[in-house]
Symmetry: C2
Amino acid sequence: MQDVRRYPLASQAADVLLDRIRAGRWSLGEKLPGETTLATELGVGRSTVREAVRELAGKGVLSSRQGAGVFVTALDVAEDWNDVLARVSVVAVLEARIALESESAALAARRRTAADLRVLRRTLAARAPARRSTEAHVDADLAFHRAVVAAAHNELLSELFDGFVPRVRPAMVGLLTERSLPAGPDHAAHEDLLAAIVAGDADRAATVSRTHLDDLVEWLS
Amino acid sequence: MQDVRRYPLASQAADVLLDRIRAGRWSLGEKLPGETTLATELGVGRSTVREAVRELAGKGVLSSRQGAGVFVTALDVAEDWNDVLARVSVVAVLEARIALESESAALAARRRTAADLRVLRRTLAARAPARRSTEAHVDADLAFHRAVVAAAHNELLSELFDGFVPRVRPAMVGLLTERSLPAGPDHAAHEDLLAAIVAGDADRAATVSRTHLDDLVEWLS
DNA sequence: CTACGATGACTCCTCAGACAAGTTGAGGAG
DNA sequence: CTCCTCAACTTGTCTGAGGAGTCATCGTAG
């Protein structure tokens, strides 16, 4: 007995509609045929068509207005961030982190407020005790890095960092359980980074952040 | 007459269910009550519940298996990239581009292949004739920048850049129609960038890319 | 006692029909 | 020409029915 997952008709209909949209059968903002027309055309009941439309509406591809019709709001499904992150290697994510965090460190050195410095000092202090579990250590480390990015006061950079975390965290936890990172230099790098941000030295902050993450990449390769 | 958009019951039901999931009423992988139960509980018909479930299934939050039930597959909806990009300022996006592209330029200088260099030369040549329409000029410019990122051979960086384009392109077109960018130095910067990548000089490639985009930020502020 | 097959309750899936509610465009009144 | 009415068409919602898949329980054979 094969483990063939039998797709519901409604999902099949949604796939057919999405393929037609991708193929350019209807352009952006155009109205689809009525539900009854689609039903006979696809050879399914009207409720099934409605569920297919709902499914695509959930994906943001279609939008229906009572009395008016169903309209195309996107020509394709926005690829899920998590899918992309799951596909690429950890090294690729770390390279993106280097790009993101070194720039954030430079911006943070220029823009950090008193509140930012408080958060940075607190998260750095929480990072120090390496006695705890591996997960707690990784979380504390990520919290500090997150605080650096937040101090750059750029919402997009913060969102991107947050998007990376679910991919980076399990990988870090897994690697650190196998072999431990030299704690001394690692912690010193974080203190240097904070000092550079406090001093407002953007170039040095970027350099410290970069070399720190470079070491991380080299360590795990 | 207010333009109050009357939400369909099915969407309202989907919102209620999503709120309950967010509130932790059901944990990950847990089974929801049956359709009939939910229908009476929410005070709507079964088909309405079904459409609500389909909508959330489209968002990846729920998954239903015939005979078994409806199960929670995610505790929240992945925030749409476009929503984030629409919310943040163009300057924020450009700052992210600086982070992304300067690092990509450095990586490209180390990793570029012969094929990459061909694409870079071709897109740079296509950029040259500034006689054409503003949109064509912006497209040619973005094509070159994209080629630089692609030469870094990091899929995540490429995906991020592609994600920025829909936000950056209209903004650039709009700004360039109002006042024109000094074409001479702008084009020279691109040639310098290509030269640095050809020479394999990572530091210089990053610097040129950064100053080029810094000038862009300064120009539009 | 254990392993296994039948069974029945429960679930989602699909269809059909009916009516409500909203939109749109054509055609008539002023 | 402008505005109003209305009829046709659209999606929204509910109900009922039957089909198909899943799972736990229970009885039976070994």
